[in-house]
Each structure stands twice: as structure tokens, then as C-alpha cells.
């Protein structure tokens, strides 16, 4: 049985009807067609579905949609240079520049995780970045260029603030 749910995603309110057992990942992908968030393992182990809820990166495959009503949800579609600049975010730019993604399937999950990290810790060291990415699996890059991209972006962001 479906019930009405109100979700605030990337600053917009969405009202829709979903069943009680709906997972946030399914609502994002299937109901709202916000398909930038990827389904990799569905069990919280790969991080492809990571999004940000109230500033924290979490696996959206392990979140009940009804548990996050009223919370602030951000997906890759909501990542832009700034609140009033819709152009590409420095992290996304650095990802492209450094080769942070190859197949790209993990990219959104990584970027969301790092996005949340940099909000709390603008200048993490390389080991700290790697530790923060401990819930994200990339099978293409060997992580090196991902860490490069985070360092580059963090440096640029720190320089402009």
C-alpha cells in the first residue's frame, strides 16, 4: 500500500506515493528518475549509491524513504559550482581532468562522499581521503587518480575561499 511522502531533494520538494518499504535509492532512480545515483551492490558495500543527507554521505540503498522525510537530501544532480552557479563543481572538474573516472559508474558515489568530506574537512591529507573513501569501490582506477582529483579540487577550493 502506498502512502504519500514528501522529500526535499537538491532543494526541491517532491511529493509522491510510495510503499512503506520503499528504499531511498529506488525512489530516486525509479520514481524520480534521478539516475545519476547508481545501484552497484544494493547491500551498502560499494558506495555507488552514496548521497548526502543532512551533510553526511550515506548509502541510499540502506535508507528507507520514509525515514528521511523532512531531511535535506542531495544527489549528484544537485552538485553544482555553488548555490547560485549551475556550472560544474570543482570536484567534478578535477575528476574529469585527473582521470578520476574511467567507466564512471562509481563516480557519483565517490564525488558525493568527498563532497561531504570537504564540507567538514576542507584540506584532508591523502591518507585521510583514502580512509574517508573506505566505503566506495572503484574497479577501474586503482584509486590513484581519484585521490589525485580530490587533492586537486580541495586545493583549488581552498584557494578560492
Amino acid at each position: 500500500m502506498k502512502r504519500t511522502i514528501k522529500l526535499r531533494i537538491n532543494g526541491s520538494e517532491h511529493e509522491l506515493a510510495v510503499p512503506a518499504n520503499a528504499l531511498l535509492l529506488d525512489v530516486l532512480r525509479n520514481d524520480l528518475h534521478l539516475v545519476g545515483t547508481k545501484r552497484g551492490c544494493d547491500m551498502g558495500t560499494c558506495g555507488c549509491c552514496n548521497i548526502i543527507i543532512d551533510g553526511r554521505a550515506v548509502n541510499s540503498c540502506l535508507v528507507l524513504a520514509f525515514d528521511v522525510e523532512g531531511r535535506d537530501i542531495q544527489t549528484i544532480e544537485g552538485v553544482t559550482a555553488s548555490a547560485d552557479d549551475d556550472s560544474i563543481h570543482p570536484l567534478q572538474e578535477a575528476w574529469a581532468e585527473c582521470g578520476g573516472s574511467q567507466c564512471g559508474f562509481c563516480a557519483a558515489g565517490f564525488i558525493m562522499t568527498v563532497h561531504a568530506l570537504l564540507e567538514n574537512e576542507p584540506q584532508p591529507n591523502r591518507a585521510g581521503i583514502a580512509e574517508a573513501l573506505g566505503g566506495n569501490v572503484c574497479r577501474c582506477t586503482g584509486y590513484k587518480k581519484i585521490l589525485d582529483a580530490v587533492e586537486l579540487a580541495a586545493g583549488r577550493m581552498a584557494a578560492t575561499t
Binding site: P19, G47, R56, L62, E131, G135
Partner: protein, 322 residues
């Protein structure tokens, strides 16, 4: 992957929660409490003992404070890992919290959920298809243990990281249910096998963890055996708490996780008065290995896991002596 259907309850106060629990119990309806969901939801996805009702704690206010004496059950593991108060007094607890699973899962998981973590086993943590193919075990849908078939109890492994540290700190847990509130020493909380796991009524909610002030004198540490640096349950974990009296052991508390169906505090392992030396560390290693049992149902061979509890205890003892 769709979850089994259930009715979802969202109490906003403990009173309301207890009401719901009481009503469901009266109706004979089974339910699970769910905080972070990082244990419940993967199990539900695998159709491991799903219940027709889920009481979510997502909209409860509070229960998430982190203090030197008391930690609310809904405190996030990530917040424990970053807590300066805990880091000052109980670094072992912070080490354990930092070792839990992965950063995003630590952003969802709570201390309560970690203490109440379901036990794990190759034959249990599998999809319904897999378990049907292999044959169901007694922990879900079946009636035998596939690890130790001749035994009539479940040998699934307790895999929480926080419990051993809280055991050596002699923490107590507060439980609230339809019959009121009670506190139980954690050392008496875990019991029996991989199915029963602890002495908590099905309607009781774990609300808080209290650490006695007498534990502040202890230096704590935690070591975790795992294959990778991250996204791992402990397949052997050791917590030590030590108070030295001059150059002697004043008080030493030892607990392990990832070995048997419950985390174990070894109260009989008394080294009080022994010199705080490498020889005592080795005696501790030997005594612990004698007591630990592991089963072949999680990664790494049991013999190695057992040996590592001893190695870690020895190393940790020396580290805590400083």
C-alpha cells in the same frame, strides 16, 4: 532490490514507541526496531527473519548524546569515532568505532545497533535463493546448524566492534519496554547462542549505554583482525582495559569479539599484581588463546583467528603499559 513488505511505524517519543510496541505485542504481531538500518535492511533484503512491522527510530528526538558517562543508543558510530570526549577518556572505544564497517555506514549505524548486531555466518548471511539451494539453517527458516551439524545450538559469530570495549569498561545498558525501564550490566546482557544472543525482551528498546566513573582510570585499546582495511566485520577483535599500579597490573579487563556467538568478557583472567612486563603480556596471550574458540563460518581459518586474539592481546597490553 525490494524489501519484504512491512508496516512502518514512526514514533516521535519513547512513550509513543512503547505504546506501539505494547499494542503490537498484545496483538501477537512481531516487529523489529530499526535505527540506522545497516544491519536490519541487508538482512531483510536477504529475507532473513523479516517481521511484519518495523518500528523506525528515525523520528525519535534525542537519545544521541555522547558523554563521558552516558551515550545515547542513537548516537552515530561516526560521531563516536570523532568524539573528543571519548577520545580523551576511552580511546579504545574511539578506535573500535573508527574500525566499524565504512564511513558512509558509520554515518547511518548507531551504537545501539552495533551492540545488538545480529550474528553472522556463511550459511546465514546469504540470499533466500542461496539458502534454499544450500539448505536452510536453524537461524532462519531451517532446523539444523550447518557449521556444527551435530549440535543443537546456533554457532553464528557475533561481529560487533563496540561491545568488547564496552565490556572491558563494564558498561551498563538501559532497556525500556512495556514493563518499564531497567539497566543491565553489559557483561550479563549477552547470552546463549547465535539466535538468542542477549537477554532483551522483544519489545525492549536499548536506549542508553552508561560507563561507570570507575572505568575512567582504565587505559583502553582495541585491535581488530580483518582482511581489508575497511568494510569488514571483525573476525577476531580484542579489547583491553588496563590500570597499572606502579609497575604492576592494578586492574586488567579483557574481552573479545568475532569469535563465538556472543562477545566475551574474560572475568576469570586475573593478572592483578603481576608485573607490567613483556612476560606478563605473553602470559596474557597464552591465557587468552586457551580460552578462545572460533568456528569455521567467517573469513580466515579458526586457528589463525584464535592465535590472533592472543597476539593482539599481547601487543595491546604492551602498548597500554606504554
Amino acid at each position: 532490490m525490494i524489501l519484504p513488505t512491512f508496516e512502518l511505524h514512526h514514533p516521535t517519543t519513547i512513550t509513543e514507541l512503547v505504546e506501539i510496541a505494547r499494542d503490537l505485542t498484545a496483538q501477537g504481531e512481531a516487529f523489529d526496531y530499526m535505527a540506522g538500518g545497516t544491519d536490519v535492511l541487508p538482512n531483510y533484503k536477504n529475507r532473513l527473519n523479516p517481521r511484519p512491522h518495523v518500528i523506525s527510530l528515525a523520528r525519535l528526538a534525542g537519545l544521541d548524546e555522547i558523554g563521558v558517562d552516558r551515550i545515547g543508543a542513537r548516537a552515530l558510530v561516526d560521531d563516536l569515532a570523532r568524539s573528543s570526549v571519548l577520545s580523551e577518556h576511552y580511546p579504545g572505544l574511539v578506535e573500535a568505532a573508527r574500525s566499524v564497517s565504512s564511513p558512509p555506514l558509520r554515518n547511518l549505524g548507531t551504537i545501539g545497533g552495533n551492540l545488538l548486531l545480529d550474528t553472522r555466518c556463511w550459511y546465514f548471511n546469504q540470499s533466500e535463493f542461496w539458502r534454499e539451494s544450500k539448505g536452510y539453517c536453524m537461524k532462519a527458516d531451517g532446523d539444523v546448524c550447518l557449521v556444527v551439524p551435530q549440535k543443537e545450538i546456533c554457532y553464528a559469530t557475533y561481529s560487533g566492534d563496540l561491545a568488547p570495549v564496552l565490556l572491558v569498561l563494564d558498561a551498563r545498558v538501559t532497556l525500556v519496554g512495556p514493563d518499564g525501564e531497567r539497566t543491565v550490566p553489559l557483561r550479563e546482557f549477552y547470552a546463549f547462542d547465535g539466535i538468542t544472543r542477549f537477554l532483551k525482551g522483544p519489545a525492549e528498546l536499548l536506549t542508553a549505554v552508561d560507563i561507570p566513573s570507575s572505568s575512567r582510570e582504565l587505559r583502553t585499546g582495541y585491535r581488530k583482525l580483518r582482511m581489508r582495511d575497511t568494510i569488514e566485520y571483525p573476525v577476531a577483535g580484542v579489547a583491553l582495559a588496563l590500570h597499572t599500579d606502579g609497575d604492576k597490573v592494578g586492574r586488567l579487563e579483557v574481552a573479545v569479539t568475532g569469535t563465538e556467538a556472543i562477545p566475551l568478557w574474560y572475568g576469570d583472567l586475573d593478572l592483578t599484581g603481576q608485573p607490567a612486563t613483556p612476560a606478563t603480556a605473553e602470559a596474557l596471550q597464552e591465557a587468552l588463546v586457551d580460552r578462545v574458540t572460533c568456528y569455521r563460518n567467517v573469513p580466515f581459518p579458526p586457528g589463525y583467528r584464535k592465535a590472533m586474539t592472543g597476539e593482539y592481546a599481547r601487543e595491546l597490553f604492551s602498548a597500554l603499559v606504554g
